[in-house]
Homo-oligomer: 383 residues x 2
């Protein structure tokens, strides 16, 4: 469909937009394709509401998105409500309350819209679609691997066959810093240096940790090299547990999908809000925009869980264009059964509402690709 | 899935709720089935945002839902935004702005969530899904008939083969009252009497209009009888135009779908907010809950349009239960290719994440219907 007019910037608030044909259809089809793969792996769909009481929406893991959440007063209860900025905390609420007695592991999926108070330069959109899976009540490398493998298969289904999964351990650096004996100023400077990937500053502020952190910083990239560096670092306590876990998770993924593109960034911890274990960011090859994000977290008060959320908007931008249904002009007075047969055959029929002097010209005017002539779909040539 | 716990009334605000398995999946499948029928008839999907500036959201036809619209301050622009309570005004905005130059008739479809400030006794839900079509830029009985026929086919596709379409003319009574010469008090009393279907009160307050209004009131029901009463009433001016239009619309519908259940309520005018011509309310047989609603309206400043919105929540409650994907337990260590083949065959595979002593017991615990044994799906018997 033609869209000759530029979007009027005064019309919609920053970060909010209309999806027009064919993008709205492409995005919706992609969501359904993702959800079909999730369902095929036993993930059952839930649909929490867009609005909840602030108390429950921002409790537990939801607290991480409190500053991104729009608030509205409920005229019914006079309590504050929030518009969801993330779906995982709502699914966790459902898992611990109404599905608290359902057998574990509990596999749930969801798709819907989220709203955020502010966009960022990297993520300017304030309405973000999410489609994801949560695997609740089980803690193992196989569980961590499963959500990644299911997400990879879902991306395959929308034509993103070469997505890259970047594994991270968001609690590794904080755990090392906590145990380092470094002062608060050095710890803050070190966190900033790691965040900026500034090896010189890591060396300057790292104290006794400097050699190991520098090695881990430089090992970010291909999974095998990073796993070697993690093993060589002989990390203590929680950090050591994480290093072994990511190694086992990679092994579980490789056993099922040897060709999956896996990288590891051992010192990355930015942007993960409630993850406590092996986490992942998903990218399309050659693009900086994230296709999805997830990882291990605590569901409710203490239940182990892992999940992965894909971003259909980003998938729409990265995926190969979808073949649209061909548009077939149906002249006025055509037998309705013939038109119905054409819909079954995969055409979108565009019915004339009145006779016109030149059916072919009318078909072209209506952006049709085909015209119904003598019971057959004829390709329209340039007129 | 078991859901033994009653919903906690303190957990979610009134009128908002979680959809659990299998309802969330059933509703989503129904929406996609409806949208597939809309697409097959050349309706192209658009996706307006959930939030817009109040000025544009509540302009023109949007004004009708102003009192049902949640407002939020935009921290970016410091202007007021509204959460959509209805999608049609947004689609009209898109049609008149970014798609203002697209050829007419413009056929658009949409599916998404709406939020409302208050529920009513009849419609308690404050988050309402909508899936609909708009046919913009054409005014004819054939156009009015098309949206009804497409909606009927869409309802067929989700198993609601006997939906009933109740045609109404919401501007007929107001037009007769305007031309009646009756005083304000009698007009108000007459409107209330018609709204309550109170024939005695209609006779008392109707003055010269009483006989014709009583005839029309009593003619509500089967389309043919109502059309006879409308013809016999020899209505003047706008009311006469409406009477001829609904007759032509019924003829256009009957020509295409002779078995469609059609009723007409000539004096009904309640609950239509911006409709200006032939309008419709859709019911499942034997149910009072509306499955959808629509009618002719003015798109933007002056463009003729008609549309119909279906309510997936109501469809979920009225439609026959959907056959769920059978759940197949896949024992630990099963070849991944075998499990993948079972997904292609239509099973939801539920993978064991660790070996268990009794696979069949584990499969039953996880609510599976089948278990994978020697490469075959075996139906689980009661254990």
């Amino acid at each position: 469909m033609t869209d000759d007019l530029p979007p009027n910037p005064a019309l919609l608030p920053a970060g909010l937009r209309d999806l027009l044909p064919p993008d709205a259809e492409t995005e919706a089809s992609a969501v359904e394709a993702l959800m079909t793969v999730f369902a095929a792996h036993g993930y059952q769909r839930v649909k929490p509401p867009l609005l909840e009481f602030e108390d429950s929406l921002l409790a537990k893991s939801g607290a991480a998105v409190a500053d991104q959440t729009f608030r509205i007063m409920d005229p019914d209860s006079h309590r504050m409500m929030g518009l969801r900025a993330d779906t995982t905390p709502q699914v966790a609420r459902i898992a611990t309350t109404r599905l608290g007695a359902a057998p574990r592991p509990l596999r749930l999926s969801y798709a819907g819209q989220c709203l955020r108070v502010r966009g960022t330069q990297l993520a300017p959109h304030r309405q973000v679609a999410q489609a994801g899976v949560e695997l609740i009540g089980y803690d193992s490398p196989g569980a961590d691997a499963e959500t990644i493998l299911v997400a990879a298969e879902a991306l395959d289904a929308v034509g993103l066959t070469r997505a890259s999964f970047d594994l991270t351990l968001p609690t590794l650096v904080p755990s090392l810093l906590d145990e380092s004996g470094l002062g608060a100023a050095d710890r803050a400077a070190l966190a900033r240096a790691l965040d900026r990937k500034d090896a010189a500053a890591v060396a300057r502020h790292g104290g006794a940790l400097a050699p190991v952190l520098t090695d881990l910083l430089l090992a970010a990239g291909a999974a095998d090299r990073a796993l070697e560096a993690l093993a060589a670092a002989k990390l203590p306590n929680h950090a050591g547990v994480l290093a072994r876990r990511v190694s086992d998770t990679v092994a579980a993924i490789r056993a099922a999908a040897p060709a999956l593109r896996l990288t590891i960034d051992p010192v990355e911890f930015r942007g993960f809000r409630y993850e406590t274990g092996v986490s992942v960011t998903v990218y399309a090859p050659g693009r900086h925009e994230e296709l999805g994000r997830g990882g291990r977290y605590i569901c409710g008060d203490s239940e182990p869980a892992t999940g992965l959320t894909l971003y259909p908007d980003a998938i729409l931008r990265a995926a190969p264009p979808r073949q649209a249904r061909p548009r077939l002009f149906v002249p006025f007075g055509t037998d309705r059964g013939v038109a119905a047969g054409m819909r079954v055959a995969g055409y979108a029929t565009v019915a004339a509402l009145a006779p016109v002097p030149d059916d072919a010209a009318e078909a072209r005017r209506l952006d049709c690709t085909h015209i119904l002539r003598a019971g057959q779909a004829a390709l329209l040539t340039e007129g």
